[in-house]
């Protein structure tokens, strides 16, 4: 599979200055990641670990106080785009038509005073020269293809159920057949049934359109269902990256192991422990491996050096001295 987007040694910091005190939050710290064509890449991690910031950088929406300190980021479509050096207008050219984005809490992004039909028209007409009846037909056909009821076209957003609103937003974000879709926590705060509906819709679109989906979520259950490959972030660092099967069957990093073990499952009431301690604040992360204060296997070296991300074969990468020490 060819690579559709690639980030190398990305460092994106929030740098703020107030009353002469400079504060740097290292939200994305030296992350390299490849996104392969037509795959579903899951990005997992708890809140405040840099998931959303990474997504911003991958999308090219860098606004102060977020600053790119180092690294490169490229899209490889018919031609290649260097995201970090593109101007706002250039990014606008490829936004939604090539690269699309489903924002967090996307059930609240619809304009409350316009009918869904008009929202679709506003959206499409900005990018393509079509009149109202054409856009209505286009959107109706698309909704039908996705198995969504045509009833929604004449409704206002508040009349739709939460799950329907979410799915309309997803349809809106993908109607111009983008090649690369980023979804930021698309299922958070939804109940299980709606969550399942949304995941099915995302999968349906990805398979039908042959697009690439990058799914950011903290819910490992959703990743297990949808992702081909999973990247685990912890405190601004990529700690593990592997095929979904290997992440769940053979997690190597202690943080990933905790994440998977702490998940409650049906038909099992045995006591499950949560990860001790709390995630670090990113303006003053711990030295060495950022997980070492919470890690049960922490060694001397973990407190001093940053573990490198090593490939242990079959694309399974992890940044932990437990693994890399063994290898050398």
């Amino acid at each position: 599979m060819s690579i559709i987007a690639e980030a190398k040694h990305l460092k994106a910091y929030y740098i703020t200055q107030s009353y002469g005190i400079e504060r740097t939050v290292k939200a994305v710290d030296d992350i390299s990641i490849e996104i392969k064509e037509k795959e579903v890449l899951g990005i997992a991690g708890e809140s405040g670990c840099g998931k959303s910031t990474l997504l911003k950088v991958l999308l090219g929406t860098i606004d102060p106080p977020l600053k790119i300190v180092d690294g490169t980021m490229q899209y490889e479509f018919e031609e290649s785009y260097n995201v970090l050096s593109m101007s706002k207008d250039e990014i606008k050219q490829i936004r939604w038509t090539q690269v699309s984005y489903i924002p967090q809490g996307s059930m609240h992004v619809l304009n409350p005073v316009r009918k869904i039909r008009d929202i679709f028209h506003d959206f499409i007409a900005t990018h393509q020269n079509l009149n109202k009846s054409e856009t209505t037909k286009l959107s109706q056909d698309y909704l039908q293809k996705l198995g969504l009821s045509g009833q929604v076209m004449n409704a206002y957003p508040h009349q739709l159920s939460g799950g329907m609103r979410q799915r309309v937003t997803i349809a809106l974000a993908t109607i111009l057949s983008p090649k690369l879709v980023f979804a930021d926590e698309p299922t958070t705060a939804l109940d299980v049934l709606v969550q399942r509906g949304v995941v099915q819709l995302l999968k349906e679109i990805q398979q039908r359109e042959g697009s690439t989906l990058v799914l950011v979520s903290h819910d490992m259950g959703v990743h297990a269902n949808l992702a081909d490959r999973i990247a685990i972030l912890y405190a601004g660092k990529l700690v593990e990256e592997a095929e979904t099967q290997s992440i769940f069957k053979n997690p190597l990093h202690p943080y990933t192991q905790y994440l998977i073990e702490s998940l409650p499952r049906l038909d099992d009431k045995t006591e499950r422990s949560s990860i001790p301690g709390r995630p670090p604040a990113l303006d003053n992360p711990p030295e060495g491996c950022r997980f070492h204060p919470r890690c049960p296997h922490a060694m001397d070296v973990c407190t001093k050096e940053v573990p490198p991300l090593v490939d242990i074969g079959e694309g399974h990468k992890t940044a932990c001295f437990l693994v890399s020490e063994e290898k050398t």
Binding site: E46, A155, M164, A189, S262, L263, P264, R272, S274
Partner: protein, 331 residues
């Protein structure tokens, strides 16, 4: 739910809440909670989960129990006293001590401008639970129950704590008055995945060690299964199935519960979802159905479901509101 013969800690019978919505000259009535009945045992502490999708009326039930919303009809009895008939004095000196809430978002529970420990001290003083000179020790002991200490949180503002810590402080605040019942409305949905289990484990521990009962309101069925003893599943204001959590989530009978169970994302890539799920299109669809509120989505829908409202049937030690079980005895 089947009524036990003993006096119950909390007894809810035919609880109904109707919201009247006015749009211009038209008024529509929305039945948010429709004749809900369940109970919490007094003989032993237990965790009862109230689960269902968003908009099913879970939070309205919690608000009525806490006295924040007046029920339209129905009875709420706590320790065999009717809550709607309490005087203000009784409410302050007795009920509010006995029943304490825990809310969804720990950062919205606490004012960002106040140091977090002031909430603990204020609660202790307002309810006169402890002598002034012993209050530090008392608060520290309570914080110890939730795995924190006064030294750890003293002087800190809510934003300096992690979501899990802030939520544990809000549990500690609720425990200050030594309540018998905690009403926890979605207590883990805003807490990080890695810290979620610490809150749920805390409820289990409080039940075992402090004999505190918990009404655990959630849409997360996996944690409900993990924490609760019994569960009631809500749909469109109804309680459609209730009973022991192993039974209801283990072998669900109501088609809605079956659908819910299948939709829990399993953290196992070998067990992915199959088949399609039907969702409601319009917000008000299910509240305005003539018959069963699940009829428009139910895979086993019959003619009768569209016309008549099912009653509660007693099946295998639980109640199920579904015509599929009509041959069993109505409760």
């Amino acid at each position: 739910m089947i009524h036990s013969t003993d006096e119950n800690l909390l007894d809810i019978a035919n609880l109904t809440k109707v919201f009247t919505l006015r749009q211009g000259f038209s008024t529509t009535k929305l039945v948010a909670v429709d004749k809900a009945s369940f109970f919490l045992k007094a003989t032993q502490p237990e965790i009862v989960a109230l689960a269902g999708e968003s908009g099913s009326g879970k939070t309205t039930v919690a608000q009525m129990i806490l006295g924040l919303t007046e029920p339209t009809s129905g009875i709420i009895r706590y320790k065999s006293k009717d809550l709607t008939k309490l005087t203000r004095q009784e409410k302050r000196s007795w009920f509010l001590k006995e029943v304490q809430p825990i809310f969804q978002n720990p950062f919205a529970t606490f004012s960002p401008l106040k140091r977090i420990e002031t909430y603990l001290f204020e609660t202790a003083f307002n309810y006169n639970v402890v002598e002034k000179e012993n209050v530090n020790q008392y608060v520290d002991d309570i914080l110890g129950l939730v795995g924190l200490s006064l030294a750890e949180i003293s002087g800190r503002y809510p934003n300096e704590l992690s979501g899990g810590q802030a939520q544990r402080v809000s549990v500690a605040r609720a425990l200050i008055t030594a309540p018998s019942l905690l009403v926890a409305d979605e207590p883990v949905s805003m807490v990080d995945a890695s810290l979620r289990m610490s809150i749920v484990n805390l409820f289990r521990q409080l039940k075992d060690e402090k004999a505190v009962s918990v009404l655990y309101i959630t849409h997360d069925l996996a944690t409900a299964y993990y924490a609760a003893d019994r569960i009631a599943i809500m749909l469109g204001g109804w309680i459609v199935e209730s009973g022991s959590v192993e039974k209801v989530l283990g072998q669900p009978l109501h088609p809605y519960t079956q659908n819910l169970k299948q939709s829990i994302p399993d953290p196992d890539p070998d067990r992915k979802w199959e088949g399609q799920v039907n969702l409601a299109v319009l917000e008000t669809d299910e509240f305005t159905n003539m018959g069963c509120k699940y009829a428009s989505r139910c895979p086993e829908v019959m003619e009768i479901c569209k016309q008549k409202i099912p009653t509660d049937f007693l099946v295998e030690n639980r109640t199920v509101k579904c015509f599929l079980y009509e041959d069993n005895n109505p409760t």
